[in-house]
Assembly symmetry: C2
């Protein structure tokens, strides 16, 4: 049941092609702004979406097309950057039209096409450049197209994000991969997470949804860059079934192996999203252990990662552990403060800063060395149980303020 990392991103699994082009939604004539992911065969599909009550039109349309998690005929995802198609007058119409443009070409129902958008909100998304670009988008489709699609969904991401793994179910080799975009903006405007995953595993949509819904709780939902939950967050998972495995129709060893492979990809993408947070100079991980419950561990890990004071300290490579205890203390979770140990760890080493809720003497020099690495872990042991959780975030920097404080125009 070994899970091996491979290349190929969203096209790693059998039966998927992708493309990404510049169609003219953005002012730039070179930056790609339209992506397509196409399955050769009808797929099971699972999806999770933003919990924000202000939802982008594409989120509403894609949720509808998911048909409560029982859709087995999904074929394509179309996604634009440069405009979030949110909080405007005819957003629903435009989002449906994007699906129709793809469906007409494939002679399928628009319901089997999913849609996502990211970029500025509150402005009308012009369908004209998408209509004009659709031919080129189909022509560019390729099993090598993952990178192009990953680039086309970027906003202020500094690099594209792809991941894929190979694993076996019975005697069949299976693959699962995906692309993601993180937090960034166009004009600038809104941080949005978009994640598109594909696999060639054969699995009932019910179990696909179950696997995805469970997975995001320990992967994407544990990522925070600035605590602002976007109106357009979308994660979709297509399963083509072309690996030829015995179809997963229940919980069992195959389902477990599938969940493990899924988690390998989603955690890798989660770390990429956190590390490429706006203005970030480093990935900050908070690993909570010794918790009396999974809920407490998750709540504390997220609270520490979201704290502006902790994030600013990480930027300054300052071993300011009091802020970690402070963030832990207002998380809403209950734990015995007098049992808490805290250490900072990176590839430069490890330094214990707090034991039993009180400060311990430590070398500021060593701590600074540890915290100056570009991936840092805040280890919190609650010494109160056996549950664990990990959350990922980034530091708070001058560039975050610059990117988000500059005028839109």
């Amino acid at each position: 049941m070994a899970v091996k990392e491979i290349e190929g991103g969203v096209c790693a699994a059998a039966g998927f092609k992708a493309s990404g082009i510049n169609c003219g939604i953005r002012k730039s004539k070179t930056k790609k702004d339209l992506a397509l992911i196409l399955a050769d065969v009808p797929c099971s599909v699972a999806g999770v979406f933003t919990q924000n009550i202000v939802k982008g039109a594409p989120v509403v349309v894609s949720k509808k097309h998911l048909r409560g998690g029982y859709c087995e005929t999904a074929r394509a995802i179309i996604c634009n950057s440069g405009n979030a198609n949110t909080c405007n007058a005819d957003g629903m119409e435009i989002a449906e039209k994007m699906c129709s443009l793809v469906a007409e070409r494939l002679e399928i129902s628009p319901k089997d096409v999913f849609v996502a958008s990211t970029g500025v909100i509150g402005q009308r998304l012009d369908i004209a450049p998408i209509e004009a670009g659709i031919d080129g988008l189909f022509e560019a489709l390729s099993t090598d197209g993952s990178r192009d699609a990953a680039e086309a969904i970027m906003t202020t991401d500094t690099h594209s994000k792809e991941a894929a793994v190979e694993f076996t179910l019975g005697d069949k080799t299976c693959r699962l991969g995906g692309i993601a975009k993180g937090v960034g903006m166009v004009c600038p405007n809104m941080a949005t997470n978009l994640i598109f995953l594909t696999t060639d595993v054969s699995i009932d949509p019910e179990y696909l949804q179950r696997a995805l819904s469970r997975d995001v709780k320990s992967s994407f939902n544990m990522v925070s860059v600035d605590g602002d939950q976007s109106t357009n967050d979308t994660c979709l998972l297509f399963a083509s079934g072309l690996a030829g495995n015995d179809r997963i129709r229940c919980v069992g060893p195959d389902y477990t192996a599938f969940c493990e492979a899924l988690n390998a990809v989603t955690v890798k993408l989660s770390k990429m999203l956190a590390k490429d947070g706006e203005g970030a100079t480093k990935l900050v991980e908070c690993a909570v252990s010794g918790s009396a419950s999974s809920y407490t561990a998750k709540r504390i890990a997220r609270s520490v990662i979201k704290s502006s004071l902790v994030k600013a300290a990480m930027f300054g490579a300052d071993a300011n552990w009091g802020r970690v205890l402070c963030a832990l203390g207002y998380s809403g979770a209950k734990t015995d403060v007098n049992k808490i140990d805290v250490s900072f760890t990176s590839k430069a080493g490890s330094v214990e800063v707090c034991r039993g809720g009180c400060g311990v003497d430590f070398s500021e020099e060593t701590a600074k060395k540890v915290l100056s690495e570009d991936e840092v872990t805040i280890e919190v042991n609650l010494n109160s149980g056996k549950f664990k959780a990990v959350a990922w975030g980034c530091d708070l920097t001058y560039d975050y303020v610059k990117i988000n404080g500059d005028y839109r125009t």
Copy 2:
């Protein structure tokens, strides 16, 4: 029942003296670091404290001295800056000792003395400079000492904060005033709100506590600078009874008038705290109206004020209203998005940016002028009821990152 602003801060009410000195807790030989507020007579006292499960030792001691809200013999508050006396080995002992030092001088029980500390956490607070400074602290006591005390509790606050009002109960002139410190740090370390209020109104401690507990929900609890709730937040209210009014022992017109005066002072101090947030260049107010419930209005106002993206936009004077809707949408409160109107207002004018959940055309030039003022209001009308709430915060600036990202040493 008119409430009139007056001078005098925490010494405005009859029966109170205050002082602030440098005793040597800080490295600086000039910055004041020890404050005392002394009542001439035994007082009713009310208090509210941080909800953080990691609590500073002074918070634990002061809560104990409050005796469940039935203490009528309170006499003094001693407070130091430069060290939070939190997460260290003998913090409780030191906090109790601070109370004893004051009590011995007055020949009263240490239980009638309240204590607070702000500054770096996780380091031992040396009692020696406090012991050595206690004589000077008493000698400096004066009815003009409010400013000195307000300065002595400051950390990275850029200026001291005082407010006071005069009002009448029956035919008696009453006064209520206070001092506060906001978010800042010493080494730097922890953001902490400390608020000390005094009044000469005669009131049972039960009703004093009731008034204060209710008041903070619409005043200090509606302030957010960075969402990090300190381990040491403390708000204390002493009532000397020297105004000679008929003692307030029940809810009625006098109680209502008292609550109104209290709110005038706490809201004024709340705005001062928000405006002087670390690195802040402006006060940002979010006024929610037309809400179906007070809970929804408060929750939305706080969510908007806390959003890093909204705060960064305010710094850039960017009318990025999509971020306001976004923050409103993830607040956890339910409301009909299609009814929401948003405007930005300041003394430079007002500009409507969103109507019925959709963007409206507006002049970017006017918007920039409105948002460039040093006090800006984000007006959100939910058009769904009659409840209102106001929250106060500040913008997110380069200086916030600088203050909190720099090394402690």
